[in-house]
Symmetry: C2
């Protein structure tokens, strides 16, 4: 298999999801799963994660059929990480019903030899100490992005702050950005994050899209309004997968490349939410992605008109 | 004074606002106030509203200095409508502390003679029965937009449904659109609204911007991310004021005009939130608005790049 030029470190999990119309147990999920299914459409992607010995061969086959490299997927004795959540009637808010870390509790991510020279790295939302540990195993990281959440912002603040100078982009949602920085405006929060070592802030806003702050540019990428929204689980990781993969494919981090990458991320996320679990996402190909990018280009087109 | 070519029917109020940094009583507010201060930058605007005999001459002067026509502003015996609210620490959610309708309780909007031929009408968020009654007084409405909220969607559903075939655009937020239509996606909700007689849905999403659905077009207008966000009160009405005024000024309702109008609304709203109450908005002029439109054009510009 081709050595990946993008590696994601995160979770591979079984999710129990309740939406107003559906309720299923043990749906393939986890940040590394959604990320890699999305990113592998654009670049060979490797996964660093752990599953239990209950992980089904069909799910391994599914990922491999998408050209995801599983050299870094460790199998440990015990059960795979399980998460359960329930969505409100508008699919806007969700409540976590349970988080059983299982084999993930003792996860010590190890990069296989074939991943060590990888240029593009995504540290999905895990303990910043593990994110730091993974980064130390990379011999030549070119561009590193990292996701985080309130749990780490409050519980592992020092570790997260130590990470910021070592990464190139931080993915987080708006309230997390405010909690991390103490500011109440996104431009101020992004400036604080830049001052603490991370030049690019990718503010995720769920069904409202994202805003990308970099040194000389701000790009607002609203989400595509779609008819058949089935399940938002994994949309944030899918967005990141599309975005980081586009950066890796373009192999540049100019403001234009960041705009294109954010647009790609928005479009990949739009596939993710159109089925329960990752199944619609696994149907996405380059042609479908290009079609959606054309739709997206028109969605935000400023009019040719004078007031 | 010039006869207005845009009339807004709504509230003129005194607001008591608490934000994390400021707490003031009797700040000039109300939907018709914010709307008309914004819209009058583009077109002569008339206000139909009622105030009490405590309404301060300086506030009347302020509106007149902005070229707002007050022929339709009735003064009744009693106190002006008062609303009080408190914002959370991120200025995202707010709680209403009190609503004292005062003279507004018996408000029977009457269009003065000079307003009756007005082509463009905005029915701000009031009882749909009053919105219907106002519309009947218009002799030649060309384009009518209407705002509503959950209180009327649940409490006056039949009146609201009777109104839909008589208006051209409905302004409401996403959860209101879902509650009104029973759908969980914005395109489905907009289609339902179109099927019930209103061809254009303007979905307001607060700090996330707006999405405009019309027969052949969808335009996503994310909000401008700004540093100095002070007070979001009135931003929705200011957005509507900028948007409807741009339609009136362009005097066309093509998809391109709607895109421009939504962009103008977004930019006018960005002024509104930069001060406590309407004071920053009262400083907005055509030049400042044009500058912000240029900023806005770049904010969502799709990159010139191939993936």
């Amino acid at each position: 298999m081709t050595a990946p030029n993008l590696v994601v470190v995160g979770s591979v999990a079984y999710d129990s999801i309740k939406t107003p119309t559906q309720d299923e147990k043990d749906v393939l999920g986890g940040s590394a799963t959604y990320f890699s299914i999305a990113s592998s459409v654009l670049v060979p992607t490797g996964v660093v994660a752990v599953v239990g010995d209950d992980f089904k061969p069909q799910h391994r086959t599914l990922l491999e059929s998408r050209n995801v490299n599983l050299d870094g997927l460790e199998t440990a004795t015990g059960e795979t990480f399980r998460w359960g959540g329930v969505y409100d009637k508008h699919l806007k808010d969700r409540e976590t019903l349970f988080t059983n870390l299982n084999v993930f509790a003792d996860f010590q991510p190890k990069l296989p030899e074939s991943y060590k020279n990888v240029p593009y790295v995504f540290l999905a939302n895990i303990d910043p100490d593990l994110q730091n540990a993974v980064l130390q195993q990379c011999t030549a990281p070119k561009w590193v992005a990292c996701d985080t959440m309130n749990f780490w912002i409050h519980g592992k603040r020092e570790s997260l702050l130590r990470l910021l100078p070592k990464i190139d982009a931080l993915f987080l949602n708006d309230s997390e950005a405010f909690d991390l920085t103490g500011y109440r405006s996104l431009p101020d929060a992004a400036q604080w994050i830049a001052d603490h070592g991370t030049p690019i802030s990718v503010i995720k806003k769920g069904e409202h899209g994202a805003i990308i702050f970099s040194k000389d540019d701000v790009y607002a990428a609203p989400a595509l309004p779609l008819r058949n929204v089935i399940d938002p689980t994994g949309a944030g990781d899918t967005f990141a997968g599309g975005m980081v993969a586009a950066i890796a494919r373009l192999d540049q981090v100019t403001p234009e490349a960041l705009r294109m990458a954010a647009s790609v991320g928005t479009c990949t996320a739009s596939f993710c939410i159109q089925s329960f679990g990752p199944s619609a996402l696994t149907q996405m190909n380059r042609e479908g992605l290009n079609e959606r990018l054309e739709m997206y280009k028109n969605l935000t087109r400023f009019p040719e008109m004078t007031l």
